[in-house]
Symmetry: C2
Subunit: 433 residues, 2 copies
């Protein structure tokens, strides 16, 4: 895409109403815009990142049998009364419409369980796995952490339905695996700890995926023996590691990027979600639920991967793979007539940059091409570092004299000259490792 056409522009000054690093950088770089506390627009650059994360999550959910659907946002009061959560869930947005009252869905057990009841009759209909990616709503009192805690936020929620606790247990382990695959692909698995947390009334524990960063609002204790962790909330009653009985812990701030929960019969009971087993017996369906926040993931990635100049996107979630920068000097000595292959003419630097851009597009590369002719080299480099695309290619007079262009990775300091004729091979080698 041409940067001159990109809707968003970078902003020099960090916005005053943003305290968190992720929001400061994402707003400055033109990925998000703040409408109100905890309510953000994903600008075209930011939405590309969200779509990358979405694709990764979908692939991993489908890999473990998940079927995607889209549940409604407006939930009639009656279904939330069935579980008692209309009164007990404090962060529920409620609204009145005519005679009816609705909640804005913060989670979807109250909708998905009655739905499942329509299609699950016997053991033959189980197990089944449903997921969606959708905007959710929670009345947050403190929403000061940018994308880490929103009043409306994108979430993937998966619900699983089983004939037995054993089957639920097995699937729960599969989801753990899928979640670590997701975290690995978005680049934060190494800093993410499977963390024991409160299990509520039906299970002893649930598990959170906690990613360590100073921006985290949670405190976790990482077991120095097995590498799993315990949330501070349950640490007092859990002096030993529940996984390995270890006694040594390291205290860290962390962000809960995902959580998984054995609901067992907590929701199948109030809604009467039964199935008939092989022996013709009627039994309650066993359930699990599994959440992961897309915006929160994006915010966490920025909290971890940045430096004083800007964001450093991991490859798989970067909005573009290549930032192609043209440094065109108006008084260029190379301002010679273009070769016959460039009938449109124009300065040599631009002509070569355009040709490289077109070739990259043909090769299906995702390229942001800084074609702006009213910015200095300094401004272009600063924007490039702020936006944080993994690979930078600079086309300038200086290197064209050697028939070369300059490559630099955002996460490295060194630059490298590459012959124009060799760009393609160089890129293939670079993008595939």
């Amino acid at each position: 895409m041409l940067q001159s056409k990109l809707f968003s522009k970078t902003i020099r000054e960090a916005p005053k109403d943003e305290k968190s690093i992720n929001a400061q950088l994402l707003v400055k770089a033109g990925f998000i815009d703040r409408l109100a506390s905890g309510i953000y627009t994903f600008l075209p650059l930011g939405y590309k990142v969200i779509k990358k994360i979405e694709t990764i999550i979908k692939e991993e959910m489908e890999e473990i049998g998940g079927q995607e659907l889209l549940l409604p946002t407006l939930h009639p009061k009656e279904i939330w009364q069935k579980t008692g959560r209309w009164e007990t869930m404090e962060d529920l947005y409620k609204l009145r419409a005519g005679k009816g009252e609705f909640a804005l869905g913060p989670t979807h057990e109250e909708v998905v369980v009655p739905l499942a009841k329509k299609f699950i009759q016997t053991y033959k209909d189980l197990p089944t796995f449903l997921f969606q990616i959708q905007t959710k709503f929670r009345k947050e009192k403190r929403a000061k952490s940018g994308l880490l805690r929103g009043r409306e936020f994108l979430m993937k929620d998966l619900y699983s339905f089983h004939t037995s606790e054993t089957d639920l247990d097995e699937y729960y382990e599969k989801v753990k695996g899928a979640y670590f695959n997701i975290l690995k692909r978005v680049g934060i698995a190494e800093r993410t700890y499977l963390t024991y947390a409160s299990g509520g009334t039906f299970s002893k524990y649930s598990h959170e995926f906690q990613t360590t960063t100073s921006a985290g609002e949670d405190i976790i204790y990482i077991c120095q023996k097995c590498g799993q962790a315990v949330n501070e909330e349950i640490k007092p009653e859990t002096p030993r590691c529940p996984n390995c009985q270890g006694k040594l812990f390291k205290r860290e701030k962390a962000v809960e990027v995902g959580n998984i929960f054995k609901l067992k019969t907590k929701f199948s009971e109030p809604f009467g979600l039964y199935f008939t087993d092989r022996q013709g017996q009627k039994k309650l369906v066993q359930m699990g639920c599994y959440g992961i926040g897309l915006g929160r993931l994006m915010g966490t990635i920025v909290e971890i991967f940045h430096d004083e100049k800007g964001i450093i996107w991991p490859k798989e979630v970067a909005p573009f793979q290549i930032h192609l920068i043209e440094l065109e000097s108006r008084n260029s000595k190379l301002h010679t007539p273009p070769p016959p292959s460039h009938p449109r003419g124009g300065p040599l630097v631009r002509s070569i940059a355009e040709k490289i851009y077109q070739n990259l597009l043909k090769g299906k590369s995702e390229v942001l091409y800084d074609d702006r002719n009213d910015r200095s080299a300094g401004e272009k480099f600063a924007d490039c570092d702020l936006i944080g695309i993994p690979t930078r290619i600079v086309i300038s007079e200086r290197t064209l004299k050697q028939s070369s262009v300059e490559f630099k990775k955002r996460n490295e300091k060194k630059t490298k000259l590459v012959k124009i004729s060799n760009i393609k091979n160089f890129l293939i080698a670079q993008l595939t490792n």
Copy 2:
């Protein structure tokens, strides 16, 4: 996908609370589920259709320069007060949260214009085109038309920003073209009429894309000379065709699947959205807005393409391209040992059906494979016709004796025997015409 694993099942009886044909068929076939009046879940089958429509719309929007973003759903009261619509828009869902009040976005001018103000300064930033695909909310009093009129519904909204009315006019024509491309691809362009409608205070007319069907809640008058139409709402003051001055009209019921609107400075004025032109003059930005309903499109397609047996999906929006049906007789005379290439064994019909299924998947075909072994042939055919996938392939004893399988298109009566060895070529020929 294996039909035995599909979450939704077909329902024999049409639900009593659904009056519209689209909702009756879509609910019976397992594409959608009704949570409350005008509020539906898109089940896995239905969500596949939505995703197909979404992809088509995205491609056509990007083709005319649209940049995708995601605007928030919770809109602070203050921005809606700026345009006066907090009071005047009757179908606004409102909610209170702490000290603040919010509307649930039914349209996004109030959000996108202040956003544009942050990035549009000079003529160099124009034109620019922003679109999103998102759930919108409208407090509908009557929501009896299934997907044609929802309280929450998926919509694509595009906003364009220009330096001049001339530029807006040109882009408006481009959007018309893009909309007809979309309608052509989803299969309803032939029945859709560009329809003059009220333009509000800033323009004489807006345009609707009205698709004729008896389920339509609108009445249009189609000019028999030029084929454009006039909405009944403005017909009294528009006795002649505004396009060609024609006098003969045909009255039809229709569904408004899309609309386009020259907003001009209606929203740039209250929000002070100015740009500096080439001469250094400050001017108001000219705007257009362009909507298209995804669920409504899906509902309209069903209203048009169905018969007494079920839905008949056009290829480009079908959830799958092929419905592969295995008719396995338990007392099969062909129940011979499988050929060596099928070490897992099992009856011949199943073994061949599975092999064809795997080969179709390898060839990237989208296949729903009815592998259910507890349904009669009659039930399988009825489900197949109800679900409405374009091509049916039946694997049965009868035709296997001739080393053949049976092909049938959903929209044709005739069946055709195709040699197993020739399936691939036959499919390629069929799917590409």
